[in-house]
Subunit: 308 residues, 6 copies
């Protein structure tokens, strides 16, 4: 291949890739001066919230009783600035052209939303303290609360969920979903920010857990790794697209335990106090205090002599 052939091939490809017809659907067009969501800033936001909620565990701090207030002040201040920016970026990301002129209103709205979120932080801490305590009490392998906060992926996933859920309630676009996915990538736990989850919630190990967007979970629920609270099917509209916003995920009442790998699909209700064994497939309502497990496996003899 000569240099010229090479150049021609590359140039031709650049032309092809620059043809708007090929990328129209998958291109995000940037408006001048408009902020883009920033992954490093979102990571810092999550880190700040974790450090505010669990003082002394995250961040690079040396918290002591008489320094706590200073750190809280500085963390909240930094959080406010970053969150305002990212909320604004989320709003711009989804806005359509005729909304572009409203930059100033958007900026004010973003700051008010950030303030409302910050005001809610004490309530988030109250809930997470209960979650931490529940996880600690539910795991004989946990030596102390500190180990739970520091090492358990569930805490990271539930923290991000409680943050993202509040931001969604405050009508912030895109950012809540992003925060959920960051926990998903870090822990393998995928909780949709729209799900409603009660108090003292426990996830153990957690890899592969999926909690869909219209799920409702009561108090004192415990679920293990690989549990799916999903949608069985969903109605399509006249054009064949899924209809948005219809409840299609389970309701899990108080004090339910769901063992690893169970798949629970559709808008069904798992009655309070139920125990669901691992690897079962549940698509119908279960009354309170149900205990269901998989049918007994069958013993077999292999005929091909090489494993299973």
């Amino acid at each position: 291949m000569t240099g010229r052939e090479f150049d021609n091939k590359i140039s031709k490809t650049i032309e092809d890739l620059s043809d708007p017809l090929t990328y129209n659907l998958v291109c995000h067009e940037h408006r001048l001066g408009e902020p883009l969501p920033s992954i490093p800033k979102l990571q810092r936001i999550i880190e700040l919230v974790r450090e505010i909620i669990f003082p002394g565990y995250f961040g690079n701090t040396s918290l002591r009783p008489n320094t706590t207030r200073h750190y809280m002040g500085v963390y909240v201040d930094e959080l406010y600035e970053l969150l305002s920016q990212e909320i604004l970026a989320g709003m711009c990301f989804e806005c359509i052209d005729e909304q572009v002129g409203r930059a100033k209103e958007y900026t004010i709205e973003a700051k008010e939303t950030a303030t409302a979120f910050i005001e809610y932080l004490p309530e988030i801490r109250r809930k997470l303290v209960a979650d931490v305590n529940a996880i600690y009490l539910n795991d004989p392998a946990a030596r102390n609360v500190g180990e739970v906060i520091f090492c358990y992926p569930a805490i990271r996933a539930i923290s991000n969920y409680r943050m993202a859920h509040k931001l969604l309630e405050l009508n912030v676009p895109l950012i809540p979903r992003f925060i959920s996915e960051m926990a998903h990538s870090e822990t393998g736990i995928d909780i949709h920010p729209r799900a409603q989850i009660g108090e003292s919630f426990t996830i153990d190990h957690g890899t592969g857990v999926v909690i869909g967007s219209t799920t409702i979970i009561g108090n004192n629920v415990k679920i293990y790794q690989g549990v799916t609270l999903g949608a069985k099917s969903f109605p399509l509209d006249e054009e064949g697209n899924p209809i948005k916003g219809i409840p299609r995920h389970p309701i899990v009442e108080d004090n339910v335990v769901i063992y690893s790998g169970a798949t629970i699909l559709g808008r069904i209700t798992i009655g309070k106090g139920s125990v669901i064994g691992g690897n079962v497939w549940v698509t119908q309502d279960l009354p309170p205090d149900s205990k269901v497990v998989q049918s007994r496996p069958k013993e077999i003899t292999f005929t091909d002599g090489s494993g299973i």
Copy 2:
């Protein structure tokens, strides 16, 4: 422990660890001047391809209509250089000693392979646009295409797969596998680059999905988290080693849906239009339009009074 005792222990251990007999099998001996695969460069390659395919979403860019061509040109240029280096590194990694002298031929081959990959980028974009669209239409929780591209791990996993698959077709060693594993670590979705996957492919949530190396998947297939398309067993050669390259993973035909946690093993065929329920174990062919679910779970009464 005195300082001398300490020094002796440490020195002794260093000696032990430096004994070639103990590391022969697990050592990669570097030849002077030979490039090693570089994880940061591979990460940059993936980032570049994502930004080229989905303009304006990844990277740190401010894409606008009249800047697109410039960005495409610069991204392709950087991609070309990095990819040539990493392909060469992959070739060197697997080459045996008598091939070492062929550095120059290898370099030329690496550049030609990188060029061929770049020429294929428009086709990768075409396929990924279809994948994005399929995912968007299949998920009522998705608010817009942008959210899918920006937040959905499936897009990251499928992008890496389509990249890695092409590189494997171009006979690049090691690098395709590495690119797959980077998506695996990031998303929990493990697609072997040798698998053959059709168009408009959807993965939802995705953690725990495994798609083995000889799998063949048709068009419009949708799979959920935790689905395994795996090998049941494999024949051994006379020395007891597994025989490489024998088809041993499923064929999944067009329009199949597989719910979470299903395990489908062996060179069997799932007929087109079939729906596989969650958590089932399938090791035999299914005719088209099959619908299978797990046997109904049994209700039990616990005798030990403590959960399950």
Copy 3:
């Protein structure tokens, strides 16, 4: 909202967040001068051990036969310093107030523990060489040993496990758990450092694997992604807290194979040579050479016409 209102809201929130009553349970109070566990240092420790065990694969080195000893010396030296610090940090993290004065004894103990760990490195290498070999022989898709070491998440998870297990045997607090979680986040494989695992251990793909703290695994065992070796239930003490330290996870004997998604719970024994099919739920002992698979799925006809 005026600037003053904003300031009042933020100030009020900072006051609330600084109230010790709200964070007592979830605060780690730092003692002046006491080291905190450092995630970057722990990551470096893991990287160093990987590079020492598998010379030439990790780190930024250009290992050649006559440079190996130098690199081993420098890596061991850096490992010693970092590990001493992190062991000390782990000890301080869990110590209670009356132990604080013992900084000097703790420092000496931390160094001795680090030395003992380093002396054990040749044995860790011996075991990991066997694990690598087993994984290579068990996977027809693996082209060579190098690909296994470089790309397979199982190697990362098992390396961290073998490291963390030894540190736990040496009574290091917190750090072993942290090292496990780092592999868990990276690979989706969650092995408790207290588990006992034999030689030539194979995990394939691995996402979602959970191996509980009192599990005992024999030699030549192979498990696939999504397998849980967990606890079924656990007795509570008089105050309703779980009793710590009771064996509650399975014993898996030599030469067992467990396919993806199987859930095996409680202190039961899976007899040697058994094969467990995917997605089964096992809560009772299995004799040697058992082969169990899930009951055959049932075929169904969907009445709602929309999937499943």
Copy 4:
């Protein structure tokens, strides 16, 4: 010192440091949402301009003839965004409270100024090409033009000066001074951005060169390290403050050479073609073609026997 004493001392100091009376003069009060000048962004701006002017020398690029246009496009685009931000930050830095509401006008003005600067880049390149050529021809030690561009601090200082000077002409506050100081710190050459410097300007070595704000330099001037073109004294106003804006630095006409360490002070004129020897002190006009050197040093005999 007890812990309490320590805490009291530190707390007392924090109180003192937080007393506005002690920092009023030296505090920059930040208005919410207002951008601060960013040193990393300014460094990137300088890097981008250097790379645009001297293609292929700076930045991380692999410029080739058919990639130049793409790189220029991307660099200019990035420069435009960063420069708009920093110009705005400079405007905000100096604005007084009643101007704060004008954020939108400021934003538009900042963008227009950035555009005007970019339009001037070809002229900056034309001037710098002449400067490079002059430096090359004036230094027998320079092997080629590339060495001059890559290694000579004068190029860095003059580039920054020509950039900063244009920004000052465009009425950008603060930022031009900052850009000058970055070159000053890097090279020891301190050129005030307000100085007027002609074409084909040469500085050799350069450490310690100072060119004051009202200096006027003609074409083909060459100065060596340590040369000061400074102000002798300046009139004070009625309150004893220096009166701003009065010409108080030298005029250096075409083709002048000034050797190292010469100090030339006040609004005097060094006539064209003059040569000023090293270390002289000049405070009066010199006619064209003057040649002045320091008085001959005197020989001495030391009486203290220890050096000088």
Copy 5:
């Protein structure tokens, strides 16, 4: 050169370089666990002090009236920890073997010294406010105090000097000198931390300024770039080594101005109110209100026709 020859040459060199006889004088032997001075930590210390002294100018902060106290608290806290560590590192660096056992006393002493330094910060701020004001009033080119703080290298050099001087008064070894050199490298201004400098001190431009260790400078002194306040000669002891600690640098009384490039050597006194012209060489006392300038340069005719 064969591979073996190469290896031999390199190995031989490593042997030579490892021979203690060749590096005895220039080796710093590290004691296990002993902290080394850390340049990044010292840079952070300097940044913190600058941000504490000049709130809102340095660091990445968004200071507002009601956040100042929080930031002061957090900065002081971080400063305390880092400074304690670096003071300890400085003490260890110079300690001789028999002092090694005193780690605990050293640690306490380091913390007390750090506390004493922090208590002195308000006084450092008071002095630097006066310096800033003096520089602003002395430079017609300065537009406002903010520009002086943000851009003028003199502020960086004088800040570091006032910091380092206090640390030296507190008997901290090595670290003060290091802090001085960091300003020297950044600004070209070299002030020995032992020098005594009065209030309202001004340096303009500053590159090349040297202020020796026994210099004494009064109030309201202004010096320009390239000024040396140095030692003329120094007595040797019986072994020919310089005798340490003898006053050997100038005393510069109040209200003196020294123009660029002047060299003032030896323990002489420049009487108050004097003005020293540029480039002069002064080695004898000057009475108050002296005005001295260099002898008039001579005009010459060049005979070689080529410049000077």
Copy 6:
């Protein structure tokens, strides 16, 4: 300004900047695959050499007697790889088109040159030990040798010079000059790598020192800040370009001391044992043991009442 006007202006400027006629002289055209000199790699090379020469002072090491050899081995190994690359990059930078095909020969030559440099390291250490010792003995303010190595800019400048000088002797293009400029930027000391400098060389403070390319300096010479050893003038060839390679800088014989700010120009000889006072201008030979100082400054009365 409308968006379209803006786009037109920017596009027009990009066109102008992409016109090869405007950048021909100042463009470095990159050949595919050819390495560019890398500033971070050169910085690492300098750091490695400093750490090899002065064990325990630079880098992040914890050198102890029984770890020295390991560190030397690893540092030399890393140095070899980086230096080979940078030497090759320097060779490519200056090569003209017809030389491009010789990549392989160039690579071999670069490696041999790197080896030769490494073999010379013990001699560089021997010389630098003498320099350190001389500086320590010459400065009453130095408390110990460690302070000199750690803090004195002269050591950094002389180290880089001795490195760069050897590389120039080995005919490495560009890189030696770059290494000199890195020290120049860091310290303000500008020593041309071609200069010849004897043993036990001392520079005090150093900012502004310039030592030209054909300078020859004997043993035991000491120079202060701001000293220029420069060229007075240089003959031009027939086309008016300076003739390269003609001796035009001073010869400074053994045991000479030159005080701050002295300017010594041309191919003159400063006889051994001479002492040159500060700020003098010397353009003629001085016999051995000369002592020259500036003419006595004159006292003046200012007529304008405002300083000088």
